[in-house]
C-alpha cells in the first residue's frame, strides 16, 4: 500500500470523525504523527529494503494507519544504499516533512553518514544498521536498534558450537567488511574462551566474483565452519560449496543473514540441516508472529526474514513509545520512551533496550527443515535475554577495541 496525500487526508478525517463520536482516546486536535522511513529500493541492497517496506506497510495496514490512537503520516525515501543520498534524503525528511522519528537506514555506511545529523537534529532513529559501535563505543543517544549488533548473534553461535555441538576445531569465512569482521570475531571470542580453536579464517571481498579459489583452500580437518555473509553472498557461497562436493563433509554454521528466509526457497533441498543464528525466525510459535507471517505471505507472497521482522518490530517499538508519550510532540520524551520501554509481544519475542540503545532479547539457533513442502529455519534452541555484550560486563567489554579482522587475535591458526 502506498500512502499518498489523499489516503493520509482520509486517515486524518477518520481520526476527527472518531473523535466527534466521543472516543476518549482521540482528541479532535490529535495531530498526525509524521514518521520518516528510509529504505533501499534500488541497487544491490534492494532485496532487504523492499522487504522492510512491505513489513512496515503491513504493520500500518493492520492498524488502519493509526498508532497509539493517532493517524500516521509516513514519508518513505529510497537511498539506493548510497550514504551521500541518505544524508540528503534525511535532511528532506527532517526539514521539509518535519518527522517525529525515523525508521531506517538499512546499512551501516548510511547510518555512519547520518550519525552527526541524527545527533544535531535530535531525531529518534530506529535502524537495523548492525555496526557494533553504533551502540557501543560511539553510541548515539538518538539511535536504537531492535535487532542485533553484528556480533550479538555470532557470540551465541560461538557458545552453541562449543557447548552444544561440542566442536573443538572450526574455520571461518566472512565478507571482508566490518559486518563480517565483527560477526567473525564475536564467534571466535566466545568459541575459543569455551575451549574451541579457530584454525582458519578466510576473507573473500564483498563483491568477489567467484568463491572457487577460497573454497579450494578450506581446511577440511575441522568440526564445522562459521559462515558470515550478507545479502546474496551466503546463497552464492553455499551453491559453490556444494559444487565442490563439500556438502555434508563440513557442517556450516551460518551468521545472522547467511541463510535468510529470503534465500531459503532458492537454496533448494541441499540446504536441509544447515544451522544458523538469528534474532528472529519466521517459525517462532507465537500468535503475534503467526499473524505477521500470514500477512506477509498473503500480501507479498514472501516469508519474512531478517529485514522484514526488523521493520515490523521497529513499528511495534515505536508504537509502544508513542503510547507512552501520548503522541505529544516532544522528541526527548519519545526517545526516553523508546529506550526505557519493554515491549513484551513483538514478532521476535520480548524486547528491552540496554543503556546504549541496543535490543536485549531472544536469540535463536535455527536448523533448515522442510515443513509442508517449504524450507524453513526451525528454531532448535532459544537463548533468552541476550545482550550485545553476551555474558561479559559491559564496562570491561567496552575497554577492548571494537571487534575487527585481527581483534581478538586468533592464536590457533594453521596453514
Amino acid at each position: 500500500m502506498r500512502i499518498d496525500r489523499r489516503s493520509v487526508l482520509k486517515g486524518i478525517g477518520a481520526g476527527v470523525g472518531v473523535a466527534a463520536l466521543g472516543a476518549p482516546a482521540v482528541r479532535a486536535q490529535a495531530k498526525p504523527v509524521r514518521i520518516g522511513f528510509m529504505t533501499v529500493k534500488t541497487g544491490p541492497l534492494a532485496s532487504g529494503g523492499i522487504q522492510m517496506e512491505q513489513a512496515l506497510n503491513l504493520y500500518l495496514k493492520e492498524r488502519n494507519n493509526m498508532m497509539a490512537g493517532v493517524p500516521v503520516e509516513l514519508y518513505t525515501v529510497d537511498t539506493g544504499g548510497a550514504p551521500a543520498v541518505a544524508r540528503t534524503k534525511m535532511q528532506e525528511l527532517v526539514e521539509r516533512n518535519g518527522i517525529a522519528a525515523m525508521i531506517g537506514p538499512l546499512s551501516t555506511q548510511e547510518a555512519l553518514a547520518l550519525d552527526d545529523y541524527i545527533r544535531e537534529t535530535k531525531t529518534p532513529t530506529i535502524s537495523v544498521a548492525a555496526a557494533d559501535d553504533m551502540t557501543q563505543r560511539r553510541a548515539n543517544p538518538w539511535f536504537v536498534r531492535v535487532t542485533s549488533t553484528s556480533s550479538q548473534c555470532a557470540q551465541v553461535m560461538g557458545d552453541y558450537a562449543a557447548k552444544d555441538l561440542k566442536y573443538k576445531r572450526c574455520s571461518t569465512i566472512a565478507d571482508d567488511i566490518a559486518y563480517g569482521h565483527e560477526q567473525n570475531s564475536g564467534f571466535q571470542r566466545v568459541f575459543e574462551e569455551e575451549g574451541g580453536k579457530i584454525v582458519q579464517k578466510l576473507w573473500p571481498p564483498l563483491a568477489v566474483p567467484d568463491y572457487g579459489t577460497y573454497i579450494a583452500q578450506i581446511n577440511t580437518k575441522v568440526d564445522g565452519m562459521f559462515a558470515a555473509f550478507a545479502g546474496s553472498n551466503g546463497f552464492r557461497f553455499f551453491r559453490q560449496f556444494n559444487e565442490y562436493g563439500l556438502k555434508g563433509k563440513i557442517p556450516l554454521l551460518g551468521g545472522m543473514t547467511a541463510f535468510d528466509e529470503s534465500l531459503l526457497q532458492q537454496m533448494g533441498d541441499d540446504a536441509i540441516g544447515l544451522l544458523s543464528v538469528n534474532y528472529y525466525s519466521a517459525t517462532i510459535d507465537t500468535a503475534t508472529n503467526k499473524k505477521f507471517v500470514a500477512g506477509m505471505v498473503r500480501d507479498y507472497k514472501v516469508e519474512p526474514g531478517y529485514y522484514g521482522a526488523a521493520t515490523y518490530t521497529a513499528g511495534a517499538v515505536l508504537e509502544a513509545a508513542l503510547k507512552t508519550t501520548g503522541g505529544k510532540d516532544d522528541k526527548q520524551a519519545l526517545m526516553n520512551a523508546l529506550r526505557t520501554n519493554k515491549v513484551e509481544d513483538t514478532v521476535r519475542g520480548p524486547v528491552a533496550f540496554d543503556k546504549y540503545g541496543n535490543a536485549v532479547g531472544n536469540i535463536y539457533i535455527r536448523r533448515v527443515e522442510k515443513q509442508n513442502g517449504r524450507l524453513v529455519n526451525a528454531v532448535i534452541k532459544t537463548y533468552e535475554n541476550v545482550s550485545q555484550f553476551w555474558k561479559y560486563n559491559p564496562e570491561e567489554f567496552l575497554k577492548n577495541p571494537v571487534y575487527s579482522r585481527d581483534y581478538p587475535p586468533a592464536k590457533f591458526l594453521e596453514n
Binding site: 534500488t42 541497487g43 544491490p44 541492497l45 534492494a46 532485496s47 532487504g48 529494503g49 523492499i50 571482508d176 578466510l202 576473507w203 573473500p204 571481498p205 563483491a207 568477489v208 566474483p209 567467484d210 572457487g212 579459489t213 577460497y214 579450494a216 583452500q217 545479502g231 546474496s232 546463497f235 552464492r236 551453491r239 559453490q240 559444487e243 565442490y244 562436493g245 563439500l246 529470503s262 534465500l263 532458492q266 537454496m267 533448494g268
Partner: protein, 286 residues
C-alpha cells in the same frame, strides 16, 4: 599438490567463463571504439533469462541459445535506437550505455526481485568429479569446453568468412573500409548484436557458477574491462589469452596473497597500461 592442482583447474575454468564474458565486449570495443558499459548488464540479463527459460521447461542448452538470441535482439535495438543517433560521439555513447545498464539493472530488480535466482546446471554436470582423488566441480570443466568451442567458432568467423574480413577491415581502418564499400553501419549493427548475444549466452552458461542476483552486472563489468585492457582491444586472441591470464592471476593471487585480493586484478592491468598501452595483442593500428 592438491592446492596447485585445484587452483590451476579453477584458474582455467574461470578463464573460460571470462572469455565468454569478454569476447563480445572486445569485439564491440574494437570495431566501434567505445566500451559498451551495458555489457555487464547484458551478461546479467542472460543469467536471468536462462533461469526463466529453464523454469518454463526449456533444456539448459536451448535456454542458453534463447538467452543469447534475446539479448542479441536487445543489442540491436540499443544500437539502432540510441547509439546510432550518437554516431561519432564516443563519449555520449559511453554515457548512454552506462545509463542503459542502470535501467536494465532496475528493470531486473522489478521483474526478478532483489532475491537471487538460482540458475541450474544440466543435471548430469551437478555432482563433482574426482581427479586424482580430489573433488572438482564438473560443471566448471563444461564451461571451459564451451569457451574453447566458442573461441574456435569465433576464430573461424573472423578469419574465414566475409563478415569476419569486413570486421577486421573495420577494426584496422574504418575510413578505408568505408572507402572500399563496406557498409559500416550494417557492420556496427551486426557486431553489436553478436557481442550482446555472446554476453547473453555467457550469462546463462556462467549462471550455474555465479547465479543471477542484483549487482552481478557491476561485478562482471570490471572483469571484462581488465581482460580487454590486458589482452588488447579488438583482438580475439587478446581476449582469449587475457581471459586465462586473468583467471590465473585472480585465483593464485587471492590464494597466495590474500591481503591483495582487492588489487590483484588491477596491478597487472596498470603494468600493462604503462608498459604496453595497446595491450598484449593489440588489434587496432590506430
Amino acid at each position: 599438490m592438491q592446492f596447485w592442482l585445484i587452483q590451476t583447474l579453477n584458474s582455467i575454468a574461470f578463464g573460460g567463463l571470462l572469455f565468454l564474458l569478454s569476447s563480445g565486449f572486445s569485439l564491440i570495443f574494437g570495431l566501434m571504439r567505445m566500451p559498451n558499459l551495458a555489457h555487464g548488464a547484458f551478461f546479467m540479463l542472460g543469467a536471468y533469462f536462462g533461469a526463466t527459460f529453464m523454469n518454463w521447461g526449456a533444456n539448459f542448452w536451448i535456454a542458453a541459445l534463447l538467452s543469447g538470441l534475446a539479448v542479441g535482439v536487445l543489442g540491436v535495438i540499443l544500437e539502432r535506437g540510441l547509439l546510432r543517433k550518437l554516431a561519432g560521439n564516443a563519449q555520449g555513447q559511453v554515457l548512454v550505455t552506462l545509463g542503459v545498464s542502470f535501467i536494465i539493472a532496475d528493470v531486473c530488480l522489478m521483474v526478478w526481485t532483489g532475491d537471487p535466482v538460482p540458475v541450474p546446471a544440466p543435471q548430469w554436470a551437478r555432482p563433482p568429479m574426482f581427479l586424482m582423488g580430489y573433488a572438482f566441480p564438473t560443471y566448471r570443466l563444461v564451461v571451459l569446453v564451451i569457451a574453447v568451442i566458442a573461441a574456435v567458432l569465433l576464430y573461424l568467423l573472423m578469419e574465414r568468412t566475409r563478415l569476419g574480413a569486413m570486421i577486421r577491415a573495420g577494426v584496422d581502418d574504418m575510413e578505408m573500409a568505408r572507402g572500399v564499400g563496406i557498409r559500416v553501419s550494417l557492420l556496427f549493427m551486426m557486431v553489436f548484436m553478436l557481442g550482446a548475444a555472446l554476453a547473453g549466452l555467457g550469462g546463462t552458461i556462467g549462471g550455474p557458477i555465479m547465479q543471477a542476483y542484483p549487482g552481478l552486472d557491476a561485478d562482471m563489468l570490471p572483469l571484462a574491462l581488465v581482460v580487454v585492457i590486458l589482452g588488447g582491444v579488438g583482438s580475439l586472441m587478446g581476449a582469449f589469452v587475457g581471459s586465462f591470464a586473468v583467471g590465473f592471476i585472480y585465483n593464485f593471487g587471492t590464494a597466495l596473497f590474500p591481503d591483495f585480493a582487492y588489487v590483484i586484478l588491477f596491478l597487472p592491468m596498470v603494468a600493462v597500461l604503462v608498459l604496453m598501452p595497446e595491450g598484449l595483442f593489440a588489434g587496432s593500428r590506430q
